[in-house]
Subunit: 360 residues, 2 copies
Amino acid sequence: MALKTRATEALGIEHPIVQAPMAGGPTTPELVAAVSNAGGLGSLGAAYLSPETLREQVKEIRDLTERPFGVNLFVPSPFEVEPERIQRANALLERYRKELGIEAPEELSSFAESFEDQLEVVLEERVPVFSFTYGSLEPELVARLKENGATVVGTATTVREGLRLEEDGVDMVVAQGSEAGGHRGTFLGDIRDALIGTMALVPQMVDTLSVPVLASGGIMDGRGLAAALVLGAEAAQMGTAFLASEESGAHSEFKRAVLEAAEDETAVTRAFSGRAARAIKNRFLVEVGEHEEELPPFPVQNALTKDVRAAAQRQDHAEFMSLWAGQAVRLASPTNAAELVESVVEGAEAALRDLAPRPM
Amino acid sequence: MALKTRATEALGIEHPIVQAPMAGGPTTPELVAAVSNAGGLGSLGAAYLSPETLREQVKEIRDLTERPFGVNLFVPSPFEVEPERIQRANALLERYRKELGIEAPEELSSFAESFEDQLEVVLEERVPVFSFTYGSLEPELVARLKENGATVVGTATTVREGLRLEEDGVDMVVAQGSEAGGHRGTFLGDIRDALIGTMALVPQMVDTLSVPVLASGGIMDGRGLAAALVLGAEAAQMGTAFLASEESGAHSEFKRAVLEAAEDETAVTRAFSGRAARAIKNRFLVEVGEHEEELPPFPVQNALTKDVRAAAQRQDHAEFMSLWAGQAVRLASPTNAAELVESVVEGAEAALRDLAPRPM
């Protein structure tokens, strides 16, 4: 028995489960390959990887699985570098550097990896599934990726964004509900207007788009997958559910936080990266969040907080880590990728079987 | 064929569909009775009704249906009356009164109807289902309502609130997701932490509570009902879906706004009532919302804006009405209650049938 959809067919996977690309550590090649080997789609969150590391990790994934997998990048958008904002942000970071016993780094020469160079690796390596977050890609670029053999997946937080992605030629669209952990994919309009719950977003997206819609946000188990499918989605993208898995590269204190948090203990914040993202509340989020309006934009703030977050990891200090997680975090459990995929599929089938109308 | 659950049994209804109590006009006795006659549970949003009007409307409902129906009240919580805040709020309202050509009313002698007197009517009239919003009720009061024959339903926006309601003895709990239109039922903790999407909230609530959970927020059609059920809810509570129905008492301009709005055109605001509630954005919401921190609490702000909202209704001026609606508002359609209930049930059955695993 399998839950087949246009999306599973186009992605070449057995089960309608996509492991969300989670940049910054959790999506190790081991996790990506394990999910793909289990019949889902593993995805590498590669936004912060250098082109060299990205290439290495793609090779590692290929050593571990022959099945399709995805790579996700952040599409860059123009940003301003205002020395005053940077100064103020660094002043805010001082107390954390002091507590962690680290010095402020030298002035930064760049704030992010080159998207063009990362994309070149994706093309050269003929990555089977390419997904992107933040904005649309030039239709010519989408066409080039598709000609190169990739299935191209965009991320939308509103119907308008979904339509734009479809016009640009993507093969499918991830509908990112407000429950989702990590960065909000919003690229049109005000972020505050684009926090639409998954239950509301998915059917409205499905009714408007022609391409398959993947549901994300708040989906943690078979019940969530079944709900996504009856809403009209053709697969579920799940992040938080994989965070505490064995293969996840999330720090052990990050995993612990995920396993202990409740549904009302996350918040959407710009504190860590300069871009709105949902994380479990900790000291850094709450304290720096109070100055949210003053912070520099992504990727500047992300680059500025990098040393603090790295030191927090080295020192097992969860209060200063970016603990990205979604609102269904109570449902997280320690598991491994294969077990999780299997239990989600079985749970979805059971949920649907239990409720299905009997023939009269 | 029917989708039977513990909730449909306890409520004495055929279909797991509760029409949300929407105080302030939409839930006419005609709407309530039509939903109940169609096999769902109609609910009167009675929070703003005088005890006399409440009694009359209950009698009207009983003239129109012999089936069970619900009445909803707001549980009062202590509030401060600060003359300075009232003065500032009135100053903010001046421009709208001017545009509408109305005078500021005399100083208000009371801000809300008496909950005790309203509740007395509920008890005397032996209302079959009593639901309440904002907080918990004394266990003794819950017991008294139950002994009197009522099924008692509380409203929770977090798991912690659901647990409290269960401890107080309610028969079932409405899990109000962040998508929901109208007032947020939050009564413990910070409202900003309690905007949990329905997809995330329902399974976490179901896993923690023993009593049946009703899903609300973003559910507009059969797909939404089916999703709610597979998530473990035992019925769906739907408000926005009924707003534009024939029997709804919503103003024609309110109905028009509901039929025209998109999913990213609502916001949670204290502008109209002093309490956080989701409405379609209009001039009043945006302009007064800029001063949200200064506004007096519910029910003071609600009482202060009453004349403005009433004049806006008389003058068909949607920009100054409280256009309560949820995030799945794109899915609203002009319909009647019986048609809507039937199409939701048929849609849910079809969605479940299409996806149900075939016996192997």
